[in-house]
């Protein structure tokens, strides 16, 4: 026994191929949805001639931009290990407040007569304020994020209906629609903005300490605290940023629709969660990438577009859409090989 205890002088190194392989495998997981996306587009091209046209593809992007912003916002909150359901109501209330500030009383506005630019700032401020309110309740007062934001969802939806008397707001200045109507290289500004937001967030998440802190907090908040990360402050910040991003999504939605109805953003949160989870964001926190989330959004956008092109009877569209989300989740489970928790 005694001889075997001598420590080996040259410890066995693991073969160098193994780490390289695991890195490739991890990268591959981020790309897991790409084959599904390609497959779906090929299917679309076969099924419908007008699918693979430039105009249709741009219209998919334009229709997905608002959803993309909200998914981006939700992904940040999810990675930090929390929930924010109220984002869908922010999509409605934030631009509505902006519109009410601009519109004269005759058009059911508040008659304050704000210039459009100031109204835009107010919209973002509403998003930030809602996020801060949620964040304070969840982070400082330790309320349950799921229920707090669910209550906020209902409250904000009610405030929107109340403030507009259930009416749809029309006739805002052009500034409200610029993002959807102005194009650059034939693609609407909203798409460019969403793409830039994804790229920037992806960069921050990967290359900035704050971004890495989100993963650390979501993965093991105690370890993050022990490493000197100001967990509470970062979480609060995430809620605020998410609120602002959702309000930008609201502006995009307004531009895309051309008006603000009292149920703008209604039920959107289900699609948002579906896109995030399909895209590999863990509901338990600490896992997921912006690229994954983006592929989740695009996948759902393509499906939505295909269903419309295929002229599925509108009464059945929801059932089919939900079924496809289920199938997409199963595919994502198989291709990523990881439990979606």
């Amino acid at each position: 026994m005694a001889e075997t205890k001598a420590p080996p002088l040259t410890p066995v190194r693991s073969p160098d191929t193994r780490p390289a392989r695991t890195v490739i495998l991890r990268r591959a997981r981020e790309l897991a949805l790409v084959p599904a996306l390609v497959l779906l587009m090929a299917l679309g091209a076969v099924v419908n001639d007008s699918f693979l046209t430039e105009r249709n593809l741009i219209s998919i992007l334009g229709a997905s931009a608002a959803l993309a912003m909200v998914v981006l916002a939700e992904s940040l909150v999810l990675i930090t290990g929390k929930f924010d359901l109220s984002l869908e109501s922010v999509v409605g209330i934030a631009p509505a407040v902006g519109a009410l500030l601009v519109l004269p009383s005759a058009e059911s506005g508040w008659g304050t007569g704000f210039p459009a630019a100031l109204a835009m700032v107010a919209i973002l401020a509403v998003g930030a304020a809602v996020g801060a309110f949620n964040g304070i309740l969840v982070v400082k007062f330790k309320l349950n994020a799921f229920i707090v934001t669910l209550a906020m969802l209902i409250v904000l939806r009610g405030v929107l209906v109340g403030a507009t008397q259930g009416k749809t707001l029309f006739g805002m200045p052009d500034g409200f629609f610029t993002l959807a109507t102005t194009t650059f290289l034939d693609v609407p500004l909203s798409v460019w903005l969403a793409a830039a937001a994804f790229a920037l967030t992806g960069l921050v998440l990967k290359y900035h300490r704050v971004g890495r802190a989100l993963y650390a907090i979501g993965g093991n908040a105690d370890a993050a605290r022990a490493a000197g990360i100001r967990v509470d402050r970062v979480m609060l910040g995430v809620f605020v940023v998410a609120g602002v991003l959702a309000s930008v999504g609201g502006i995009m939605q307004t531009g895309y629709v051309g008006a603000i109805s009292a149920n703008q953003g209604n039920n959107m949160i289900f699609t948002v969660f579906a896109a995030a989870v399909i895209g590999g964001i863990s509901l338990d926190g600490g896992r997921g990438t912006m690229f994954g989330a983006l592929t989740g959004v695009l996948l759902l956008g393509v499906v939505q577009n295909l269903l419309t092109l295929a002229q599925v009877p509108s009464f059945w569209i929801q059932a089919i859409y939900g079924g496809i989300i289920l199938v997409a989740l199963m595919i994502a489970r198989v291709t990523t090989g990881r439990a979606q928790d």
């Binding site: 420590p7 780490p19 695991t22 960069l203 990967k206 290359y207 300490r209 650390a216 490493a227």
Partner: protein, 504 residues
């Protein structure tokens, strides 16, 4: 003599009325591996919390290298002095090893994280301390020993040269323990000082130079390991003179008493080839360290786990493994390991908790008669002397002792033929402990067979015989009337006698 690297003197720490540490002392010299030993509740973890700056002592001083310890709020200063590797990991599982090493202080390049430099620095750090772990690996994929080394390397990179290892070997097998010790010795040669906490005294002799013993929240002795023979160490831990109390005279179990539980050849990952029998009216204790497999064995008999092989029979019936419901119906009452985790539903009332297992007897076709349930629960409350307002009170209101009595009440509610008790008196006050153990005695008199798994000598002292598990095998059997040091020695696996010689 050089300045001690760490010196704690006259440490007192109270939590409310309980004194967790009455006289904590520790002097660790630079470059040594210092063992801290003591039974559960001796005050080891409290002392560690004070030493690592997690809690301020009520009295006493801590000095590092002759200087007073930094204020509690200055985490960075503490991190440069001392680090503790706990059994519970303090890393982020989803991140790579490299990132865990440099969380929140990643190397930057023009304001952005430079992953290339991060990898390089992590590899260099791991290399410096001779840790052979791929810096790109996901931390969740690491083996326990590698994760521990990563945590040690991280602590060293902050500048700490004093590392507390809190039961580092509990989750390791023998070969991994050997490797861990090899690495510890190598780090020690490069000037790292360890405080090593372990229940395995064998390991203390293998890897430490000095040992400090705590008992009953007090410092007992500090001595070079070489000067302290095992028997003396065990005596210091057990405090034989104090604990040698009344060994209640009781009738031996009649040899013709029918065998209730027969376990033969039971084998799983945690234990191996277990044979044991419990007769009617017999209380059998099962002792061992936390990794010995004793809890897993009890949970297998209670139906929570499925073994790899072997059988267990209750009277003549085969026990259905892995099916708690069926085991319960076969006549087994069970007190699980941890009342908070598995024992009680905190939100429900005492009555609901106590009658959870017997609801089918309290009504017809799945409906439960509320009156019958209340009466039944009230009887249990009286029988077990639970101090409560009534069956309707939430169980979360109760003190530890009374809550544990509710768990016991549920085990007894079904009038079991075999009682399996795991740590039945863990974390309860002295009076409740007496009353819980008295219930065991009266169950014994009624002819129930009892299997007690416990870390507490007081629980085991009431047993007709105590079986000791070590690394998953029964290594000793002590009939009632054993001396504390005998039992502790065989639990810790330090046997002064040559192998194979029986105690009886």
């Amino acid at each position: 003599m050089s300045t001690p690297l760490v010196e704690a003197r006259d440490i007192v720490k109270r939590y409310g009325p309980t004194v967790a540490l009455a006289d904590g002392r520790l002097t660790v010299l630079p470059g040594e591996s210092h063992a801290l030993v003591g039974r559960n509740g001796a005050g080891k973890s409290t002392l560690v919390n004070v030493l690592t700056g997690l809690q301020a002592p009520d009295e006493g001083t801590v000095r590092f290298d002759g200087e007073p310890a930094p204020p509690l709020a200055d985490r960075d200063a503490w991190r440069r002095k001392v680090a503790c590797v706990y059994q519970k990991p303090t890393v982020v599982p989803e991140l790579t090893v490299a990132e865990n090493l440099f969380i929140n202080r990643q190397p930057l390049h023009r304001g952005l994280i430079s992953w290339r430099r991060l990898r390089g620095e992590a590899a260099a750090l791991l290399d410096t301390w001779d840790v052979h772990v791929d810096p790109e690996a996901r931390t969740a994929d690491l083996k326990v020993e590698d994760r521990q080394m990563v945590e040690i390397a991280r602590a060293l990179s902050f500048g700490a040269r004093f590392i507390v290892l809190d039961e580092p070997t509990a989750q390791l097998d023998n070969r991994e323990i050997e490797r861990l010790f090899g690495r510890m010795r190598a780090l020690q040669d490069s000037g790292v000082t360890f405080l090593f906490i372990s229940h395995h005294l064998q390991e203390v002799y293998e890897v430490c130079q000095t040992v400090t013993v705590l008992r009953d929240a007090r410092w007992i002795t500090t001595a070079p390991v070489a000067d302290l023979p095992r028997t003396a160490l065990v005596e210091a831990m057990a405090g034989e003179a104090v604990t040698r109390q009344e060994q209640t005279a009781r009738d031996a179990v009649a040899a013709e008493a029918p065998v209730v539980l027969t376990v033969s050849g039971l084998t799983s990952e945690q234990y191996d080839g277990i044979d044991l029998t419990v007769r009617s009216g017999e209380v059998v204790g099962l002792a061992g360290t936390s990794g010995s497999g004793k809890v897993e064995l009890a949970e297998t008999i209670a139906g929570l786990r499925t073994p790899a092989g072997g059988t267990a029979r209750l009277r003549e019936r085969q026990l259905p493994f892995g099916d708690v419901r069926a085991v319960l119906e076969a006549g087994v009452g069970f007190v699980p390991r941890d009342r908070h985790e598995q024992g009680l539903v905190a939100g429900l009332s005492i009555g609901d908790n106590a009658t959870m297992t017997v609801l089918d007897r309290l009504g017809r076709g799945g409906f439960v008669g509320t009156d019958r349930k209340r009466r039944f629960a009230a009887r249990l409350i009286e029988r077990l002397d639970i101090h409560a307002e009534g069956p309707g009170q939430p169980v979360s209101d109760l003190s530890g002792g009374n809550a544990q009595k509710v768990v016991m009440a549920r085990a007894l509610a079904s009038d079991p033929r075999l009682l399996v008790l795991v740590n039945p008196t863990a974390g309860v006050d002295v009076k409740s402990k007496e009353s819980l153990l008295a219930r065991v005695d009266s169950a014994r008199e009624d002819g129930t067979a009892v299997l007690v798994v416990s870390d507490e000598l007081d629980d085991l002292r009431r047993c007709d015989r105590v079986l000791v598990l070590f690394h998953g095998r029964i290594v000793a059997e002590h009939p009632a009337g054993w001396h504390d040091h005998e039992l502790i020695a065989s639990i810790e696996g330090v046997d002064s006698m040559p192998e194979g010689v029986d105690h009886g």
